[in-house]
Assembly symmetry: C2
Homo-oligomer: 287 residues x 2
Amino acid sequence: MTPSTRSTSFPPRAPADFSINQMTVKQLSLPDLVTACADLGVRGVGLWREPVKEYGVEAAARLVRAAGLRVTTLCRGGFLTAVDPGERARALADNRAAVEEAAALGTDTLVLVCGGLPDGDRDLPAARERVADALAELAPYAAGHAVRLAVEPLHPMFAADRCVVSTLGQALDLAERFPAEQVGVCVDTYHVWWDDLAPAALARAGAGGRLHAFQLADWTTPLPRGVLTGRGRLGDGSIDFRAWRALAEAAGYRGPVEVELFNEALWAADGREVLADTIHRYTTHTR
Amino acid sequence: MTPSTRSTSFPPRAPADFSINQMTVKQLSLPDLVTACADLGVRGVGLWREPVKEYGVEAAARLVRAAGLRVTTLCRGGFLTAVDPGERARALADNRAAVEEAAALGTDTLVLVCGGLPDGDRDLPAARERVADALAELAPYAAGHAVRLAVEPLHPMFAADRCVVSTLGQALDLAERFPAEQVGVCVDTYHVWWDDLAPAALARAGAGGRLHAFQLADWTTPLPRGVLTGRGRLGDGSIDFRAWRALAEAAGYRGPVEVELFNEALWAADGREVLADTIHRYTTHTR
């Protein structure tokens, strides 16, 4: 197969900026994922802490480095809203460990999901302020490891139980309390696509040097019970990926673009085929 | 039973500003609902078009009038995002009928759920603009019947399939293109509770004379499949109703407060008991 025919064959070789988030194909072991990436020309991968730790952080780092893969993000730190001092101390310690793992893996970006309301708590503004307090402790530590924290706003349907930071504007309000090289944002289309204020916030993030990660997933309905695993393949849902990618580029973003899907049907399928299909859809729907 | 003991008995008499949205107790027939309201001192009811039409609009109007009940809102018009000219014409005709039904029932407020994206459509801004175009046709017609249109922002999780207006700020941006006595907003805590910009928008709505309806439901997790019927009883979830009610009052709102729950478990229970419990929770959790 020559390079010229490769570009029209299925599966297509992955574009240079494409990155696969490990969760999209979590049925693949880390070695199988790395092999599949090599076979399909994927140059970037977003990793998750749990499977990395299971494999061994140092071993995982060696594996991806040997394959010439770039770790585009580590997912995820965060869960910083506890009121209880002991819980809070444990969360901070866990986030320092996440920073160290990110550094070991050679990625400069740790994605943070900030955490929901503690049980029985109804004070969103106070929970958001506790996130800011935690960032103040973590950001310098991360910077000391050459790791940037990327605050990810999650869709408002997760505000109670997963992330009290619901919009890109809020995430930037938090990040901008700190130096841009320490704290920025992670923008996932799945979480922000509905928000008429998000395009301006994306430009603001870019102008401030805070657009640390950019992820894609499509919005499909009906949502499943618990709403966590209903992310759609690119092109299956309501999101205009060409528009969002153009907005990110207009904001100055030149980094990798991760596709991150949580989807039971995809997890039940062949992981290599899911990866190939994801590349195909990325090529088809974002340009 | 004397008035003084009534106030401490269970169920409590409904506070003067309490209104029950018919959907909360949809297992009750309209006559049973009216009787239950009389027995429990409920003075306001938010009605839905489908059960009202099934009973007969004029008969329903006579029934509630004879009981001294105030119809606080009619739910709902809207679904104004069609691109197809025939569909659009049918939607406008249906909304004019809804205006006439509201007038016949003696309510001054028609709640609008604006509609989602047409199948295969990914252009949210264009869909929102079609809503504005439709409001321009409907608002004068409604005003001619002494009915105000109340644009209801729905939670962003409904942006694709139910309502492209996702925040109170957006709803106000739409409403403010028209006179305040023609187009305002309906604020439901379930839809806006997560939004840090909603309190300021609520004040803006009040200052502009556009806070036409105020509804309560609690946010509970996990959300059920389809996410439509997961609304929680007041006090069961994450929403601080005292804070939201205080915000509405600070915005100058002195109107009825509807409790509107869509909840399979409540629909399976005894409707009168659900109504009594709803009054009790309203009294307990909003002051």
